[in-house]
Amino acid sequence: MGAAPRITIVGASLAGLRTAEAVLALLPEARVTLIGDEASVPYNRPPLSKDVPQALAQGAAEAAQFARLVLRSKIPEGAVQMRLGQAAVSVGPGGVRLADDTLVPGDWIVAASGLRPRRLALPGAEAHRHVLRSFDDAVRLARDLRPGARMVVVGGGFIGCEIAATARKLGLHVTLVEPAPHPMQRALGPRVAGAMAALHRAHGVVVVTGRSVAGLTLEHVILDDGQALEAEVIVEALGSHPNVEWLAGSGADLSDGVLVDDQMRAIGASRILAVGDLARFANPLFDAVPRRVEHWCVPGQTARRAAETIAAQEMGHIPTAGFAPMPSFWSDQHGLRLQAFGAPALADATRVVEGDLTQIGHHPIIVEYLRDGLPVGVLGLGANPAALAAHRARLDAALSTSVAC
């Protein structure tokens, strides 16, 4: 190719930033533009449900809290054109159209626009309903985190459970409402999720399961069995929607995020790639089913892969075959660190290999996750990192033989 390629990335968060870095590392002459609808520089999200709202509620300065979230970057000053505070509204052959109607051309378009929280499709109580995805969300929530206040968290996924734990630490009365039999059941399986529910209860969270929300009033959250929970603060933690509207009409499969091949190229739109929480890809470590993976490690892994694809195509060679990244995630709840490797959500059985689930929060526990009798994941609950590292190595070995055959 003649001129330096133009790489236009939509979404200026972890995945977008890591893609810009990886592209420049392989193609230093590339002209990279990073478009983001948030006005701020890229920042890290996991602390937004953990220590950040706690610190803000306890009076820490906003600017200082934000400063510690800012993602460090290896990009030399000026090497990437930043278009912050501008949403992409559409994409076409000419490039990406922004909200102010300017067109940013691109030979390659990288979709890194992530997710936004799902909301309850119910009116009412607007002034004290919260979601948690951005720094601004955390700032707004922190103002309502007053000791003694009554909080209802709707949805017992990781973010809901983390914010429930944070609010308990701050002295709020917290009720967590989850339609499944246990919070986090889909991610952790029924046994571990049951133990986690017990941990939440031991720390004073009222866990209401098997129920969903039927209505909201100024003072109450009404459940589908008619129960009314007092609520001065409501957190909607119901999962997320992929931010794909700007890709409509591009040819990409947008049925759940952006469906990509093992080179991160959108199926149906060969010049568009997708990375991070948005990308739906198959991981041959497990099977051929494409899935979105909402873990912090994925943006870095998919960004490097996307950059390899672009560089290989620009330089006229074929990218290396196969993309099989090892997933990992962590969570912190009531002082307990959960650290997982692999895909516990895919398991049909669990085996406690160290400790005892009834001792959760008191003694280290390591759980192995199996599917059809073969290991697919390992989870530590307050586990010694060295012990967990040994299990992760075993998992690595087990999964790589399954890829080989």
Partner: protein, 61 residues
């Protein structure tokens, strides 16, 4: 190359141990240990570890 970990922010995720096992490891007590003076040949691994660290605790000199 000098490598340091800011232990005031490290939360022992162990991502660095996975990305650069020749440089970072856990001792038996579960503490993080690392080589502070690392051969240039391992720069790629150390940079991968710094990128993988969710707390941005790894400082490369």
């Amino acid at each position: 190359m000098k490598v340091d970990v800011d232990m005031s922010i490290c939360l022992l995720h162990g991502q660095c141990v996975i990305a650069a096992p020749a440089v970072f490891s856990f001792d038996d007590a579960g503490g993080l240990v690392w080589l502070s003076d690392v051969d240039e040949g391992l720069r790629g691994d150390v940079e991968a570890a710094a990128d993988a660290c969710p707390e941005q605790a790894i400082v490369i000199g």
